[in-house]
């Protein structure tokens, strides 16, 4: 179970990333943020976001056109 969940379903680029950045600030260091999105571009974007910011993308999956990302807050 993630510490926080962000529902970004129906939002298009770059809103899922921008909202995730904001939501991560509320997650304590070492905590996790779950993001739900319907933007297929979010898959590549969250991978790039995590590589660049140093946060850890623990898992990503898709179920019924809803993408789920679990990010561990490991960077500032």
């Amino acid at each position: 179970m993630a510490d926080h969940t962000l529902d970004a379903k129906g939002l298009n680029c770059p809103l899922p990333i921008l909202k995730a950045r904001k939501a991560l600030k509320e997650v304590p260091a070492g905590g996790t943020l779950e993001i739900l999105a319907t933007d297929p571009g979010a898959v590549a974007d969250f991978q790039a976001f995590c590589r660049q910011t140093g946060n850890e993308l623990l898992e990503h999956s898709v179920d019924n056109d809803v993408y789920r990302f679990l990010i561990k807050h490991t960077a500032a």
């Binding site: 939002l11 298009n12 680029c13 770059p14 990333i17 921008l18 950045r21 976001f49 910011t53 500032a76």
Partner: protein, 179 residues
Amino acid sequence: MSSEAQAVQDAASGAPAAAPETKNMTIIVTKGSLDWAYPPFILATTAAAMGLNVTMFFTFYGLPLLLKKLNLQVTAAGNPAMKMPMMGAHMGLPNLLTAVPGVDAACSVMMKNLIKKKGVASIEDLRDMAVESDVRLIGCQMTMDLFEYDKADMIDGINIGGAATYIECATQADINLFI
């Protein structure tokens, strides 16, 4: 002392590790129509979210994007690539029709409806997010004089500068874009 040795010493002495070097990006924004306003604001907000320091320099037709009140329009004139999804097909407008009064307004309304329907942020929202994430916004002084804009009509928190101001930022930056 090598940086590695320094790091070892810092760790041993309990000094905080140096933050990874922050990247910088600049964007010259030269166009102010509804469609052209998107790339600079999308890239600026995303880069800021990814930890970059971002500077946007608004010049010529990009300058009005700093006005408090935005009413952005799009035109199909001279843009044969602009085709809107309509009843399962993509429809463009012949250039002659784009000159008919009201057509630009209708195109703009149509695009704003699409933007809302597809969950795309408005330019107003993206601009607010840019300000919130400390993107540095610079209005071009020469353009203000040329087109007679008043800083009082622009949003708060912007800087005014010229080419040298931009160039100084650009020399420090890892990414410099002209849009």
